[in-house]
């Protein structure tokens, strides 16, 4: 992959809920090359506060329009500044970076687990599969949030026709509890096939740790997308590593997608 730097043009900024934003960015090079799982590394402004770039998963791509989307939550100064951007502004982008999800074969199933903002890359995975004419009924998405007003894109998801399992920690909608609990129950009750099924997960570290344990236990072919502090984003600094059974791996370059059975999270 010939990584490149590009000045993206901000096409739209949408506030999708409390502290939740979606950006649409014009960027021929990223939209042409981005695969589900890839991320971009962007500079939120020209000042030194914050100094470093911030990483965001590619959330959606419209190749014909040379544009792609990011979905993010305001958690600190960087995302705050990003949320205040205006249509027409330029954004300094590196990308697409990192590896990508390995896709299921046509006759396989896909089970996706999203915790909160983990929906960002998984949504792109779903739409890529559908674009490749993958049968929506063979895709199940487990989507967990803390409370129901944190749900995102549910209408968009429902309209794809994939199977949807919802969970909220406070029980305000769907299953009451962690999404991994619901997933575990379904697995144990054998309501989910594990053979010829590819699993995918993205979400908070605690959730991915659980997913990783479950994957080992049930020998699932499961790919998880990790986050880490990424100074360089291109594999040069060794700052973003995660422990795996094969030693430390760079999340930015060897990942962000890893085999759930191989990473050692704590």
């Amino acid at each position: 992959m010939n990584q490149r730097k590009e000045q993206g043009l901000l096409l739209s900024v949408e506030n999708l809920g409390e502290r939740l934003f979606r950006l649409k960015i014009h960027s021929p090079s990223i939209s042409k090359k981005a695969l589900p799982g890839n991320f971009c590394h962007l500079r939120v402004n020209e000042s030194y506060s914050p100094l470093l770039r911030r990483a965001f998963s590619i959330h959606q791509v419209e190749t014909e329009k040379n544009s792609f989307e990011l979905l993010f939550k305001v958690v600190g100064p960087g995302t705050q500044i990003l949320s205040e951007k205006k249509t027409g502004e330029k954004i300094d982008l590196l990308g697409p970076l990192g590896n990508s999800f390995s896709l299921p074969a046509k006759d396989e199933n896909a089970v996706l687990l999203a915790g909160g903002m983990g929906i960002a890359p998984l949504f792109y995975l779903v739409s890529s599969l559908l674009e490749k004419k993958f049968d929506p009924q063979k895709i199940s998405l487990f989507f967990g949030v803390r409370k129901k007003d944190e749900y995102l894109l549910v209408n968009d998801i429902v309209s794809t026709g994939i199977r949807l399992h919802l969970a909220t920690e406070d029980g305000s909608s769907g299953y009451r509890g962690m999404i991994t609990e619901l997933f575990f129950q379904e697995l144990r009750a054998r309501r989910l096939k594990t053979k010829r099924t590819r699993f995918y997960a993205c979400g908070p570290n605690l959730m991915l740790k659980k997913v990783s344990e479950i994957s080992r236990k049930f020998k699932l072919d499961c790919q998880i997308s990790l986050e880490s502090h990424m100074p360089c984003g291109v594999g040069a600094c060794m700052g973003c590593v995660v422990n795996t059974v094969k030693g430390y791996k760079r999340v930015c370059k060897d990942g962000p997608v890893f085999d759930a059975r191989e990473v050692i999270l704590d």
């Binding site: 010939n2 100094l51 770039r53 291109v234 973003c240 422990n243």
Partner: protein
């Protein structure tokens, strides 16, 4: 008129004075996707140790006001795999290659240096006597003139490459150390490595780095680096290579004014992968604009005694 950006260290001639700092540019490959690496004066590798090092537990980095902390722990492939796996790529570049060497004893430095001796594709060595993240190691060499002398002398006696001694800023008087390594036969000094620093996660009541402390780099430390380069350049005869918070051409020019013959870009690579090449271009433009024949004509030209 094309200005002359070339600089020499020992017998090695660099096409321009812009280097990329150890540990921020891997072994060169990654940034090749962003620009032609041959445009750089030289690439400096991640610190190489005798044995491969996994490095410290994550989290290894965090951001601080106008800076960042890192405690990578000298994660590297070790000298053997470096020669086998990384050097072939570097050898094919036209730019100069500087291998940065670290160790936790003089013997280790010497062993690494011996293994690197005569290997095609290496032009210089940078001896890291200053890494703040290795416990019984580097820090001692870097903060005591006698140890610094001994370490560089031992390397000098076992290598035919020109040697750059990379100095630690965590000392009371960096000039003293610079003079010691000059005496020991260093062909140049590079400064500064990172300042020892720490950050705390108030919520978790834990250090942000698993190693507790780490090295501070970036624009925050530029004033400290400039002061040290300025003081050192006035006292040593060998070239001074300046680094610490250089993010653009202006910063680079300030270091040259302060007495640096060359500069390195570290954290700046993270903020903008093209930072270093943009500086090469920027220096050229500055020389043209100011009608300087050679960039080195600017070196140390800080006006100190004029009224305005």
């Amino acid at each position: 008129m094309i200005p002359d950006l070339s600089v020499k260290i020992g017998k090695v001639k660099f096409s321009n004075p812009v280097l990329v700092a150890s540990g921020t540019f891997g072994y060169g490959e990654e940034y090749g996707a962003f620009f032609d690496l041959n445009e750089l004066g030289s690439i400096i590798t991640k610190s190489i140790t005798l044995n491969p090092r996994e490095g410290h537990l994550p989290p290894r980095t965090c951001e601080t006001p106008s800076g960042m902390l890192n405690a990578i722990g000298l994660a590297n492939v070790g000298v053997k795999r470096f020669i086998q796996e990384k050097l072939p790529f570097l050898r094919n570049l036209k730019t100069k290659v500087i291998v940065n060497v670290a160790g936790s004893s003089i013997d280790e430095y010497v062993e690494v240096v011996k293994k690197l001796e005569g290997k095609k594709g290496i032009d210089l060595l940078e001896i890291n006597i200053s890494c703040p993240n290795v416990k019984q190691g580097g820090i001692t060499f870097g903060s005591d003139p006698k140890c610094a002398y001994d370490c560089i002398k031992a390397v000098r006696d076992n290598s035919t490459y020109p040697i750059i001694a990379k100095l630690s800023p965590n000392v009371a008087d960096i000039v003293e150390i610079a003079l010691a390594v000059e005496e020991a036969g260093a062909d140049a000094v590079s400064l500064i490595n990172t300042l020892v620093g720490m950050a705390i996660d108030l919520e978790k009541r834990k250090p942000r780095l698993s190693n507790i402390t780490g090295g501070l780099s970036g624009p925050a430390i530029k004033p400290v680096a400039l002061a040290m380069v300025w003081k050192t350049a006035q006292k040593v005869k060998i070239p001074v290579i300046g680094l610490g918070g250089i993010m653009n051409t202006q910063d680079a020019l300030e270091f040259i004014l302060a007495g640096a013959s060359m500069i390195q870009v570290g954290t700046g690579n993270f903020v903008d992968p093209e930072c270093s090449v943009k500086i090469v271009e920027g220096l050229k433009e500055y020389c043209q604009e100011k009608k300087l024949k050679r960039i080195l004509d600017l070196r140390g030209k800080l006006k100190i005694f004029t009224a305005d």
